[in-house]
C-alpha cells in the first residue's frame, strides 16, 4: 500500500523532469511554442493525477515510506542519498504543488498568448523545471536533497522573474530575488553542514529517530536551527529578507501565483514544519521565529495598505500571511502553519490568477486605472471576492479555520505580543484586500489628491473609466483556459472553507493530541476585526464616507515611511552599492596596485639593477683589458694571502 504511494510519488516527481529534459534538450521542439506548452501541461496533469493517487494511497495515517538511492558514496557508505520520502504531509503538499502548477500552466496558455513561440517554449521549460524541483523539495527524504531542490526552485524563481529579461526592472528584480534568498541560503547551508556534523546524517527519518530517542546532542543546536531558520527566512520572505518578494512581481502574473504565492515561498514554512521535531528542541529559536513572523505580518500588512499596484498588494499580503504561518510554527503548532500554507496556497493562487485576469484585461497593474470592473468581468470579480474573503478569514471561506488555528495557537502558547500583532494584521488584511476589491471592481479610484498618485494622467484615466476611453483594453472575462483554473481554485477554496467551517472543526493534518484549547471569544473577535476592516474599506473606498486622504493623514508619518518601504530596501541598496561594491573595488585596487604592485616593484628593481650593471659594459676592448688586469691583480693578491 505505502510502497505504492512512494512509487506514485516518484512517478509524479519524474514526469515534470522528463518534460523539462524534452523541452530543454530538444531545442527545435521547444521553439514551437504551443505544442511545447501542451506537452508540459500534459505532463503536469499526469503528475497531478499521480500525486492525487499517491495521496489517497498514503492516507493520513499511513506509515512514512522512503525510497532512496546512494548519491554520494564515500568510504564504502552513502554520504548522501536521493529519493522520496512519502508521508501525509508530503503527499498533501505534493497535491497542492501539482495542482497549482497544472492550473497555472494551463492559465499561462491564455495569459501569455501574445508571446513569441520561442519565449513560450522557454517559459514552459522553466515551468517544468520548477515543478520538478518543487516536488523534489516536498518529497526530499534528507536535508541535502531538500537544499538542492531549494536552490533549484530559487533558480527557477530567478529565471521566471526575469522571463521578460529585456525589461531592466525585471532583470533587477530577478537578481535581487536570487541574492536575497541566497543570503538566507547561506544560513541554511551552514545549518545543514553543522547538523550533519552533529547528527552524522542528512536523513530526516534517521534524524527524527535520533531526536526521539534523545541521541542527538542538544548542545549547540540552537545555532543550527537558527541557521536553518535563516534559510526559511530568505525563501519565505521574513523580515528583513522580505524585500525581494514585492519586486518579484515583475515576472508574469501566473509565475507570481505559482512561485511567489502558493508554492516556493512557502517552502520555508514547509521546511520548518518538516523539521518541527528539531525546532522543538530549541524553544529560544522558536520564540524568535514567532516574533519575527508576527512582526513581518504586521509590517507587510502596513505596506500593503499603501500600494497602488494590484500585484504588489497581493505580494505584501503573501509576505504577511507567511508571517502568520511562521508565527504558528513559532508557537509550536507547526501543523496550523502548514494548514494555513495549504489553504493560503489555494486562495492566494486564486487571487493572483484573478489579478492576472484583471491585468490582462486592463493592460496595467495600476489600481488607479481600474474601477467598476465587476460589471465587465463578473466571473473574475466573483472569484476574486471569494479569494479575498478567504484571505480575510471569513467563515465558510478557505482561510477561516486555518487563521483561527494560528491565532489560537499563538494565544495558547502565551505569546501575547505576537497575538496582538496578528489581530491587528487580521484587521489590516481585511482592510487592504477590500480596498483592492472596491477600487478595482466597484467604485473606482479616489479621484483626487491621494498624495502618491497625483499625476494628471491618472486623474484623467480614472475620470474617463466609464466611457472605455483609455487604453487598448479588452475588459471582459478571460478565455476558458484562464477561467477554468480560476473556477477550480475558487470552488476548491470555497469547498475547503465550508468543509472545515461546518464539518471538521479541526486540523486535518498533524498530531491529533495537539488540541488547542482556544478561548471562546477568539472566533468572534477574529471575525469581528476582519469585518471591521471590510467595513472601513467599504466606507472609505466605496461609500467615500471617510475621506481616504484624511484617513491617510491620520497616519502621516507611518504612511510616508510605508511609502518608502520603511527604508529597508534603501539599507540593502546602500549595503550593496556602497559597502559591498566599495569594498570589492578596494580589494580589486589593492590587488592590482599593492599586491601586484609590489611584484612589479621587484621586477622594476631587477630591470633597473640590470641597467646599472650594464654600465660596466662600455663596449671598449681596453676597458675589458683593464678589468682583466684588475681581476688578475685580485687573483694574485688572493693567492698570496691564501697560500701564505
Amino acid at each position: 500500500m505505502t510502497t505504492d504511494a512512494a512509487g506514485l510519488a516518484l512517478l509524479s516527481l519524474l514526469l515534470p523532469a522528463i518534460s523539462f529534459l524534452l523541452l530543454g534538450v530538444v531545442a527545435p521542439f521547444r521553439r514551437t511554442g504551443r505544442p511545447a506548452a501542451w506537452l508540459s501541461i500534459l505532463f503536469a496533469a499526469g503528475a497531478f493525477g499521480a500525486a492525487v493517487l499517491a495521496c489517497r494511497a498514503q492516507g493520513i495515517a499511513g506509515e512514512p515510506t522512503r525510497l532512496i538511492w546512494n548519491w554520494l558514496p564515500s568510504e564504502g557508505r552513502a554520504l548522501a542519498t536521493i529519493g522520496v520520502l512519502v508521508d501525509a504531509d508530503s503527499t498533501i503538499m505534493l497535491v497542492l504543488v501539482t495542482l497549482v502548477a497544472l492550473l497555472v500552466q494551463l492559465y499561462s496558455i491564455g495569459y501569455l498568448s501574445d508571446e513569441p513561440a520561442t519565449a513560450l517554449g522557454r517559459y514552459y521549460t522553466y515551468q517544468s523545471l520548477f515543478a520538478f524541483s518543487m516536488m523534489g523539495l516536498v518529497l526530499s527524504p534528507n536535508f541535502l536533497q531538500l537544499f538542492m531542490c531549494w536552490e533549484l526552485v530559487g533558480l527557477c524563481s530567478y529565471l521566471l522573474i526575469g522571463f521578460w529579461y529585456r525589461k531592466p526592472e525585471a532583470a533587477r528584480a530577478a537578481v535581487k530575488a536570487f541574492w536575497t534568498t541566497k543570503a538566507g541560503d547561506v544560513g541554511l547551508l551552514i545549518g545543514i553542514v553543522l547538523l550533519w556534523r552533529q547528527a552524522g546524517t542528512f536523513d530526516l527519518t534517521d534524524m527524527r529517530a535520533m531526536v526521539e530517542s534523545g541521541a542527538l546532542p542538544v548542545a549547540g543546536l540552537s545555532l543550527i536551527t537558527f541557521c536553518i531558520y535563516l534559510g526559511a527566512m530568505g525563501k519565505s520572505a521574513q523580515f528583513p529578507l522580505h524585500v525581494w518578494l514585492p519586486d518579484a512581481m515583475e515576472g508574469p502574473t501566473p509565475v507570481s501565483a505559482l512561485i511567489h504565492a502558493a508554492t516556493m515561498v512557502t517552502a520555508g514554512v514547509y521546511l520548518l514544519h518538516r523539521t518541527s521535531w528539531l525546532f522543538a528542541l530549541t524553544p529560544d529559536v522558536l520564540l524568535i521565529v514567532a516574533w519575527i513572523g508576527a512582526f513581518t505580518a504586521l509590517l507587510a500588512a502596513v505596506l500593503a495598505c499603501v500600494q497602488d499596484d494590484i500585484k504588489r498588494v497581493l505580494a505584501y499580503s503573501t509576505v504577511s500571511q507567511l508571517g502568520y504561518m511562521m508565527a504558528a510554527i513559532g508557537a509550536g503548532l507547526s501543523a496550523a502553519g502548514f494548514f494555513h500554507l495549504l489553504t493560503h496556497g489555494v486562495f492566494k493562487a486564486l487571487l493572483f490568477l484573478g489579478a492576472g485576469a484583471v491585468i490582462h484585461g486592463v493592460g496595467s497593474n495600476d489600481l488607479s486605472r481600474m474601477g467598476g470592473l465587476a460589471r465587465k468581468m463578473p466571473q473574475t470579480a466573483l472569484l476574486f471576492i471569494i479569494g479575498t474573503l478567504s484571505l480575510a478569514g471569513i467563515p465558510l471561506f478557505g482561510g477561516f479555520l486555518s487563521k483561527e488555528e494560528i491565532l489560537g495557537a499563538v494565544w495558547a502558547h502565551g505569546l501575547v505580543g505576537p497575538f496582538i500583532l496578528l489581530m491587528l494584521v487580521a484587521f489590516l488584511t481585511a482592510f487592504y484586500m477590500f480596498r483592492v476589491v472596491f477600487l478595482a471592481f466597484f467604485a473606482g479610484p479616489v479621484p483626487v489628491s491621494v498624495a502618491s498618485s497625483g499625476s494628471p494622467a491618472h486623474v484623467k484615466a480614472s475620470a474617463a473609466h466609464d466611457s472605455h476611453a483609455h487604453g487598448h483594453s479588452h475588459e471582459h472575462d478571460p478565455p476558458a483556459t484562464m477561467l477554468l483554473p480560476l473556477w477550480t481554485l475558487g470552488l476548491l477554496s470555497l469547498a475547503v472553507g465550508i468543509y472545515f467551517t461546518l464539518i471538521a472543526h479541526a486540523l486535518p493534518v498533524g498530531e491529533a493530541e495537539h488540541a488547542i484549547e482556544a478561548p471562546a471569544w477568539l472566533t468572534p473577535s477574529a471575525v469581528g476585526v476582519a469585518v471591521a476592516g471590510i467595513l472601513l474599506a467599504w466606507l472609505t473606498y466605496q461609500r467615500r464616507a471617510i475621506d481616504a486622504a484624511s484617513l491617510a493623514g491620520m497616519f502621516g508619518p507611518i504612511r510616508s515611511a510605508a511609502l518608502a518601504k520603511f527604508w529597508i530596501d534603501d539599507i540593502f541598496t546602500f549595503t550593496f552599492d556602497v559597502v559591498l561594491l566599495g569594498f570589492s573595488r578596494l580589494v580589486g585596487w589593492v590587488d592590482r596596485y599593492v599586491v601586484d604592485g609590489l611584484l612589479n616593484v621587484v621586477s622594476a628593481w631587477t630591470l633597473t639593477a640590470g641597467d646599472r650593471l650594464r654600465m660596466i659594459q662600455t663596449g671598449r676592448a681596453q676597458d675589458y683589458v683593464y678589468g682583466v688586469a684588475v681581476g688578475l691583480l685580485i687573483l694574485v693578491l688572493w693567492m698570496r694571502w691564501a697560500l701564505a
Binding site: L72, S74, L144, R166, A171, V175, Y593
Partner: protein, 511 residues
Amino acid sequence: MTGFPVLSVMTWAPFVAALIVMFFARHKPLLVRWVSLAGATVSLVASLWVYWEYDQAVAGFQFHETLSLVPQLGISYLLAVDGISVLMCVLTSIIIFAGVFASWTVKERGQEFYALLLLLVTGVYGVFVSLDLFVFFLFYEIAVLPMYLLIGIWGSSGYVQPQGIFGWAFGRTGVGSKEYAAMKLTLYLLFGSAFILVGILALYVAGGSRTFSFLDFQAMTFDPTLQSWVFLAFYVGFGILAGIWPLHTWSPDGHASAPTAVSMLHAGVLMKLGAYGVVRLGMGLLPDGTHQWAWLVGGIACVNIVYGALSAMAQKDLKYVIAYSSVSHMGVVMLGAATLTVAGLNGSVFQMFAHGIMTGLFFALVGLIYEKTHSRAIFTMGGFGTMMPGIATAFTIGGLSSLGLPATAGFVAEFLTFLGAWSSDHRWWLFPGVVGAFLTSIYVLRVVRQIFWGTKSEDPHFQNLPDAVGTEWVALGILVFVLVLFGVAPWIAIAPVDTATVPLLMRLAGR
C-alpha cells in the same frame, strides 16, 4: 600490469599529433585541425578507457608501465594512475578536446599554435600519470613553458592605468601587454618550479639517492624537520601554479592575455597541476609536514576564496572576472585539501574537476563573445540575450555552477568541501567558504544581467551579433553536458576518487 601501454598512448598521442602538425601540415590549416583533433580524440578515448577499466575494488595505482632510463641515478619512466589522477586525466582530455574546437578559428600561425597546445597537453598528462618524480618534473616543465610562446604570440594586450605608490613600476614593466603577461606567468611559474625541484632533490638525497620513484618515497619515513620545509617548498612551488594568495597575480594577467584555448587549458587544467602536486607530493609523501602546515594552507585558501571573489566583483573586464573567479575557486580546492578529511579531500578533487570544466566553459564563452563583439568591457555591453541565446544559456549554466548551484558540478564540490571544513581542526574555515560562494553568486549574476539581460546596448558594434555556430557548439555542448552530468550524478566521479583519498588520509592519520 603489462599489456597495452594505454597511459603512454594517452600521454604521447598529443605529442605525436604535434609533430605531425609541425612537419606534415604546413599551409594546410584544415589538416592541422583534424590532426590535432585526432590526437585529442585518441587521448580522450584512452582516458575514458582508463576510467572505465580502473578497478575501484582494488584501488591504489594501476596500469603500471616501467622503463628504466638512468639506472645509475634511479630515474625511470614509471607511469600509473590512481583514482585522483584518473579523474584529472579525464578532465584534461575533455578540456583539450573542447579546446581544439574552441581554437578552430585561430588564423595566425595556426600550425605552431596547435603544435604548442598539444605539446603542453602532453606535459599535463605526463604530470598526472608519472610516478617517477624526475620525469614528473620534466613533464611539469613541458606543461609550463609553451605557455610563454602561446601567450606572447597569440595573446592580446590591454591597458592598465598606473596608480598608487607602486605606480612608477607599472610603466617600467609594461603592465597590461601580452608580453608582460607571458613573461610574468613564465617567470612566476619557473620560480615556483625551482622550489619544487629543490623539494624533490631533498627527498631524493634524504632517501639515499637511489630512486626517484613515488612509490619508494611513499614507503620511507622522512625526518619531521625535513618534511616540514620540503612541504613548504612544495606548497609554495605548486601553490604558485594553483594561484595561492598572494602569489596569484600572474593568473589574472596571464589568463586575460591568453588566447581562448590557452586560457581554457591553463585555468582549466594547469592550475589543477598545482593543487594536484600539493595533494600528491605534499600530502602523499610528507604526513608530518602536512599536519604541521595544514593551518597555513587552509588559512591562505580562505583568503583566496573571499579575496578572489571580491576582486572579481571589482573587475570591468570580462576575462579578468573569470580569472579572479579561478583564484577564488582554487581556494576551495586548497581548502578542501587542507581539511584533511575524506569529505573535504573528495570535495577538493571534485572541485579541481568541476572548476576545470566550468572555467574552461567560461573562457570558451568569453572567447566567443570577444570574437563576435571585439570587446571585453562588461559595462558597455547589454541585452545580448536576444541575439545570442545559446551563449547566454551556456554562460548562465557556467555561472550557476560557479556559484555552487545544485545539479551542477560546482555544488557537489563546494558542499563536500564545506562538510570537510566543519569536520576539520579549524572549523571557522567553513564561513569564508560559504561567504565566498555567496559573493560568487553576486558577481556572476551581475555579469550575466549586465551582458545578456536588460535593454539592448545602443553601441553600433553590438548590433546583429551572431550566436555560436558549428564547431563552437561542440565545445560548449561538451562542457555544459559534463558540468551538469557530474552535478546530477556525482558518484561517477566520487567513487574512484574516494578509493584514492581514503588510503591517503589513513596514511596521513597514522603517521
